[in-house]
Assembly symmetry: C2
Homo-oligomer: 346 residues x 2
Amino acid sequence: MRPPGIKDVAAQSGVSIKTVSRVVNGEASVHPETRSRVLEAIDRLGYVPNTAARSLKSGTGGAIGVLIDSLADPFFASLVSAIETRALKEGLSVLVASTGLDERRERDQLTGFIAGHQVAGVIIAPVAGELPYLEAFRQVTPVVAVDRALTAFDSVVVDDYAATQLAIRQFVELGHTRIAFYDRDERFLTIRRRYQGYTDVLAEAGIEVDPALVSWTIDGSLDYAAETDRLLGLDDPPTALFASNAKAAIGLTTTLHRIGREGIAHIAFGDFSLADVLRPAVSCINQDPFVIGTAAIERLLELRESPSNEPREWVVPTSLTQRGSGEIPGPNAAVTSTSTVGGTAA
Amino acid sequence: MRPPGIKDVAAQSGVSIKTVSRVVNGEASVHPETRSRVLEAIDRLGYVPNTAARSLKSGTGGAIGVLIDSLADPFFASLVSAIETRALKEGLSVLVASTGLDERRERDQLTGFIAGHQVAGVIIAPVAGELPYLEAFRQVTPVVAVDRALTAFDSVVVDDYAATQLAIRQFVELGHTRIAFYDRDERFLTIRRRYQGYTDVLAEAGIEVDPALVSWTIDGSLDYAAETDRLLGLDDPPTALFASNAKAAIGLTTTLHRIGREGIAHIAFGDFSLADVLRPAVSCINQDPFVIGTAAIERLLELRESPSNEPREWVVPTSLTQRGSGEIPGPNAAVTSTSTVGGTAA
DNA sequence: ACGTTGCTTGACAACGTTGTCGGTCTGCGG
DNA sequence: CCGCAGACCGACAACGTTGTCAAGCAACGT
């Protein structure tokens, strides 16, 4: 009833279980003839090593844990896809879980991964600012943060600040002075950094930050239709809109198109499907989840070999993809520019 | 260095490891006072049961395996998301892997799940038509197929045939006689069923199936731009287009909009993000991955309780969401004034 | 002939958990 | 007072694998 074990293979091929173990693990000093006899038995029985026993013995198993906000978010789905693809080459499985943005759940899932499943490593888009309770496992389980940086662990991120500056600066150069920021959310480091980029560019251009132009999210649920109504109904309404994340971008563009105001300038942080098909096509800051995911697991694999160097922040380059919606001029003169930010490790 | 084990808890609370085990597993006949002492020690040490040891002992572990085409496909990403959400409530983890549509890889991943990780169950979108090698594990590991049915195992699918008929029949009733079918792909049962629905409706309407209107995929990579060029360049070009899957739908709509031919009637099998924002909004057959995923894991959990009934096929309902692009009349329209309904939010 | 080296192999313990079995203790009826 | 049921608890084996240690054996140099 149970799958065949190492003992069955040993019996079949007339050797000890230890020899089978040696063959399976590709150790040297096994007689070629013995090896082939064992391999034949393995093949005949369809033997597959039991990972539970392995990780019990070794203390670290054949899977890596990936913990993200939600798999329903295309950004994270692509990220996990990249990780899974690379993990496969390494013979590692992927254990995936979502936090739903709940710190308590994040902690439970993490301890489940590390103490429960004894994963070989963790890639996490952290909800909490820091994860002090992971310190205890530092030596045994490598951790890499993605999207949102942690100071205590290696992190793979994009330069949110510079990328946002690029977008806002473009608005300013096109003559916009009333620029709205969608979905400010103090819970996330990334959004805080993006908001900082927004305010800094305005300051440097001598434009006062109008709180009425900043959409707050308290609990993560913003009604984009209502918020857009509010913004465009202001006495001095915005002439350019910045969506600080992909979800906001989709909500925003959907609303704009539905109420027929798609002619207003807008840029999204994060690309999304069909952004280039809309009229006008949506300009966006392009952060590639595939590149980020690949960099993260690559770093994780390195950490498995040589653990615990200094925590480092890896910055994946972003670019501002000009498609039309971001190049709509404001009330003043117009200039265009294209550039790329990031690309070096900090 | 290792996480605390049951032994540490036992030492802390002055009982035997067996008693700790009893407490952890909520068994009866543990003195309340002892129980609380143990629980306190568990809390203090941050003890988490080692799943490897558990599954080694019990022969079946605390994770379910999910095997799909690719996580980069939003349909499957949402499917896995639904599964993960439900699994969490059950205290089960999710091991996810992709096949890349490779049967060999499918088989490797499956045996890895079952014999290697001893998963508590498998949910799979099968690539191969049948999976005979799973018969051996039938009694010990429940399997549920999603999206593409298996005859030997429980399956959760949609009625591809009927749903496609609905769409094609709408085209016919609107006076279309030249209807193209994008992305025929003989490898998949679902696509074969959809194609069957297409040909059957044409036959019942007395319209001959023109092979020139059927786009074949040999290896899964269709150049939608080139294919659309070919179709619309025919002497007698199609007046209505049917995309047999979401990927084709995105490729098709992107192309149509890019070449300014979005006025041609089209319906997609599978909803996609922003389909309701395009002009015209894209009508589509709506198969909800969340419902499918939830149904699949629900069935899997049932199977864990009472294994191996007769294999059954569960059909999740679909609907044809009218948004505009599918209601564009053809040359022989009986009724000229078919008005399009502005799409409602998805 | 003999020790030494290198190659090949196996016996055994251990990883953390749970199932089996048996033990101790309390309270109760006879 | 004894016996017995029931509640509570612990020693031990076992799950499948790998690390440790040592043994067997051939070839080699002296």
